[in-house]
């Protein structure tokens, strides 16, 4: 962004200052109805967004369910120290990073590839139909997605019965009866595939929007120059969406610790807890379910701070490489 020219500051006499103050007061009085319109939204942000930020102080207190907030003792950094020493810390960190990492490696390129494929389609009705179909899972609730996965993966309820469709396919391919839902090793893959199923179609929208802005003449010129389709994609289409790709990548890096947490809570069970517990699910389970408020607030605060560092770093890196960055 171009630097805004600084308006030259002129020293004002006290009288002029008073006049200005009076003017702005009149201005604000004129706008009283606008402030009234703003009131509900401002109250909303104060109560539901800023008040909880003040509640972050709990991270430095020995506060849990059943104790009054004012009786809770200040314990300084004890919550953080015991969290870092806790054996579950490394596990949470590992699970969070693996789930995010797998999403980054396997899920992230998928909408880009899909958008590039769709971009090659010249038959409009076919393109529309495919788009219509692949956007559907995005709007369906996570509970439905999890429930369907559950039905597809379930083990037979009785001898002689059939299991879910995917359970049967795995059985035919490997000859083994695998309880995917209860296996810690498979958990990461279940989450990844659900993600791909639910979001990869919807993820194409932003790339298709970027592609819609590409001038058709560029392709025509390339054809005249003898470029084949592969070269057209490499030298026209990809550069056209590269800044969008970087933007999306920054967003993803920034939320590297935000594992799709509604999804994890749904798919979590006692059998896969060693791989399914991440920072978010831990905060829910220990904080909301067990009532360990101070400790889990500390965990949540730790996560928030790392997240901010991630966003800032990714943004800084993007600017360094000549991209516009997010802010």
């Amino acid at each position: 962004m171009a630097k805004v020219e600084k308006v030259q500051k002129v020293k004002l006499t006290p009288q002029e200052k008073a006049v200005n103050r009076h003017k702005s007061w009149v201005q604000m009085k004129n706008d009283k109805w606008l402030y009234l319109l703003l009131l509900p939204g401002v109250l909303y942000f104060i109560i539901f967004k800023f008040a909880p930020m003040w509640g972050v102080l709990m991270a430095f207190m020995n506060y849990y369910a059943g104790v009054s907030f004012f009786q809770a003792q200040w314990v300084g950094l004890d919550n953080f120290i015991s969290f870092f020493k806790d054996s579950s810390f490394l596990q949470l960190f590992r699970n969070t990073l693996i789930i995010s990492g797998m999403n980054l490696v396997f899920y992230f390129p998928l909408p880009i590839i899909l958008a590039l494929l769709l971009n090659e389609i010249k038959v409009q009705w076919y393109k529309k139909t495919v788009q219509t179909l692949i956007y559907v899972p995005h709007f369906v609730s996570m509970v439905v997605i999890a429930s369907i996965s559950f039905m597809l993966l379930k083990v037979p309820s009785m001898e002689g019965y059939t299991g879910g469709a995917i359970y049967e396919i795995i059985r035919k391919l490997t000859g083994k009866n695998v309880n995917v839902l209860g296996s810690p090793g498979a958990f990461y893959w279940v989450i990844l595939i659900q993600n791909m199923w639910k979001e990869s179609g919807w993820g194409t929208i932003i790339f298709l929007a970027a592609l819609a802005g590409v001038d058709v003449e560029q392709y025509e010129a390339a054809i005249v120059d003898g470029a084949n389709r592969w070269q057209q994609m490499l030298y026209i289409t990809l550069p056209a969406i590269s800044s969008t790709i970087v933007t999306m990548f920054i967003l993803r890096m920034g939320s590297v610790l935000n594992t799709g947490f509604e999804q994890l809570i749904l798919m979590q069970n006692d059998l896969n807890r060693s791989t399914s517990e991440t920072f978010d699910t831990f905060v829910y389970n220990r904080g909301r379910v067990d009532g360990d408020y101070g400790y889990t607030t500390a965990v949540g605060l730790f996560k928030s701070v790392i997240s901010i560092i991630c966003v800032q770093t990714a943004n800084w890196a993007a600017k360094k490489t000549g991209q516009s960055g997010l802010f």
Partner: protein, 293 residues
């Protein structure tokens, strides 16, 4: 111009691969839904012997009868559906009220303090108090175990509010000047001019907020203690994923697996009904801004 475009063999092969790939992917994404719908109309003995099918051999409504039978699942399911409809309707109205009033306020360029407010809003997008502090605030306001907890804490989505603000900011300035001369207050301009001019935008965000409320289960899990207050998505989860009742008598098969399929269908159908409307709107590019922030 197009006459020089001669299609090579490579082009044909590429086309075939692209079409096959896209068709396969699109089918892969919808087949699970088709299967669940088919299975919900199949008799229980079919679903426990066939693992995947698109058309049931026999057609029956037994599962749906059991779901809506008041002596069976009926009361629980219908009550939760009613709760979900209520939350979706009232919640969407509340969301739109909070989002548009605030968006209009901060869209007025001359307004003193608007930059401070916007910076605060942006700050909440990168930092939040977290789940437990928010939960305790909601609890201390007396909203725990009430529907207020599902309606108010998520009333404004900061991304959506910013897009709505951008929309209001682009309304021509002359309009409100004229209205002001006619003696209209800012609230009058907002209701009589700004809102009617932005109906398509309101419909878009209304739909997206509504889908969000219908699909939401986590707030209910977080803020509701009494399971008789659960909305439909939680009942769906409990029936499909938590109940593992086995058949009492293998000779008289009660719809159980098919019942699970049927209840998944009921959770999906409202989305499929509004889907054509949704599709019409997100094509307009509104959501692109939402994703980018």
């Amino acid at each position: 111009m197009l006459s020089i475009k001669r299609r090579s063999v490579g082009d044909w092969i590429a086309d075939v691969i692209i079409y096959v790939l896209l068709t396969a992917l699109a089918l892969l994404m919808v087949i699970p839904f088709v299967y669940v719908i088919a299975a919900s109309f199949a008799p229980e003995h079919e679903i426990i012997t066939r693992s995947l099918f698109i058309i049931p051999k026999e057609f029956t409504l037994d599962a749906y009868k059991r779901i809506f039978d008041p002596n069976d699942y009926g009361l629980r399911v219908l009550k939760s559906l009613g709760i979900s409809v209520f939350i979706t309707g009232v919640g969407t109205a509340i969301d739109l009220f909070f989002s548009t009033t605030m968006a209009y306020g901060v869209s007025r360029r001359h307004l003193k303090g608007r930059n401070i407010i916007m910076n605060c809003v942006l700050f909440t997008m990168i930092f939040s108090g977290g789940m437990i502090p928010t939960f305790l605030i909601v609890k201390s306001l007396g909203m725990y175990d009430t529907y207020w907890a599902l309606l108010l804490p998520g009333a404004i989505n900061a991304y959506n509010m910013i897009i709505i603000r951008n929309f209001f900011a682009e309304l021509p300035d002359g309009l409100d000047e004229a209205a002001q001369i006619d003696g209209c207050t800012d609230i009058g301009i907002f209701i009589k001019i700004a809102l009617p001019l932005s109906m398509p935008m309101l419909a878009t965000f209304g739909l997206f907020y509504a889908v969000g409320h219908w699909n939401d289960y986590f707030n209910a899990l977080l803020y509701l203690g009494d399971s008789s207050k659960y909305p439909f998505q939680l009942i769906l989860r409990n029936i499909v994923m938590l109940s593992n009742d086995t058949q009492v008598d293998p000779n008289v098969l009660m719809p159980q697996e098919t019942l699970k399929m049927a209840i998944i269908v009921i959770g999906t159908v409202p989305i499929l009904i509004v889907y054509p409307f949704l599709q019409k709107h997100f094509a307009a590019g509104v959501m692109v801004g939402a994703i980018k922030g």
